[in-house]
Amino acid sequence: MNLIDRYLAEVERRLPVRKRADVIAELRSSLNDALERKATGSATEEDIVAVLRELGPPAAVAASYNPAPQHLIGPAWFPIFKIVTKICLLGYAIALVVQFAIHLFVAQRGDSLRGIVGGTVESVVWTIGVIVLSFHLLERLNVPLNLPVREWDPRRLPEPAPPGDRVSLLETIVSFIISAVFLVFLVRIGRSTGLPEVAFLPILNEVFRETMNWFYAAALANLAYYALLLWHTRKTAFTRLASLAAGAVGAWACLRIALGLQVRQSDLVAAGLPPAIALIAITSVFITALGIFAIAIWDAAQGLSRGGKSTADTTSALPTC
């Protein structure tokens, strides 16, 4: 088989069946015309190579005859694809948090943590694959997208988020991951038996174990808060409320530890913990609880004050012509 035949065979197998015969016949005719003009006598291999190079690689030539889209999902379907994917991912995030909660609070029934995370990752990959395939089929079958055309009103554009309400995507994702890791770390601590050879540690373990569920709740609330931030992409009254709730639960968990330690202070000292260390520990946990709550309140208050201010600013910024 000579070079032209090999070239045309490569183009042909990439063309839609109904076009093959005609396109290949035309290309063969054109290639022979070009070759006839190029070669003075009988065509050498170099002449053929030059003519084929001029036409281009078989895949590129075949692609230029193919009206099928060269992309998986086109611009018409892409916004819908994004919304569907987002909803599915949110569903999986909620399912993950619920599974975690069931695992932690309902007597650690159900799958292991590794099983829960592994199963979710597998399902997410599988679901995204199915969504991409479905939208690609809609694209290939040329299914028209008949969305009702709504008149666009510039007055409905959202106000740009003031600096204090802006959310860094990277920061939020990192915070989400850190919260998830912290939750797993808590679960490990909750299950560990501590170090029994030190006399006061069992008492500490007991105090922590009594409060552990509140720490789980705080970590879950944080996860939910960061998921909300990722969804809203800016701080809103709703995300501030979630932040306040997560902060309150975290502060309450710390406060419970501090109270527990205070109640058992004499036992701890009797078991060998120096009184000064016990006092420092109780005070620092108290301060941490207050700090967490104060930060949550401050963030919520800032949002409230900015909410009122930004409305006033918008009104005063209207042109006075």
Binding site: V23, A25, S29, S30, A34, R37, E54, L55, G56, V61
Partner: protein
């Protein structure tokens, strides 16, 4: 400085390429007032100073044919069978409109290119 010059060259080549690309269908329709087969049309475009790659020209001919702007027939009388294209009636109408539009564009662009700039 040399890099800057090279970048400018690249930009102007790219923009000139984009400008030409948009004009290829008009040039092909205009050239096919007389029938021609793929290779002969390509050579004709070269002689007219508007060269078009074969990889661009042949698929374009097929698309214009499918859109009904060209008519095509295989000629088997010659030594080698060749597919001849010529402007269809619909193609002639479209060409007429495009020609008028092109005339307006040339006028507008000439005005813009007189280096007068936007009046203050």
């Amino acid at each position: 400085m040399i890099l800057e010059h090279a970048q400018q060259e690249q930009s102007s080549d790219r923009l000139a390429g984009e400008l030409r690309k948009g004009l290829i269908p008009l040039a092909v329709l205009a050239a096919l007032r007389s029938p021609a087969y793929g290779y002969s049309l390509q050579q004709f475009m070269v002689t007219k100073g508007f060269p078009v790659d074969q990889g661009t020209l042949y698929p374009l001919l097929r698309r214009l044919d499918e859109q009904g702007l060209l008519q095509s027939d295989w000629n088997t009388d010659e030594a080698r069978p060749r597919k001849y294209y010529r402007l269809s009636v619909a193609g002639a109408n479209v060409l007429e409109k495009l020609e008028a539009h092109w005339g307006e564009l040339v006028q507008v662009m000439s005005g813009l290119l007189r280096k007068e700039g936007v009046a203050k």
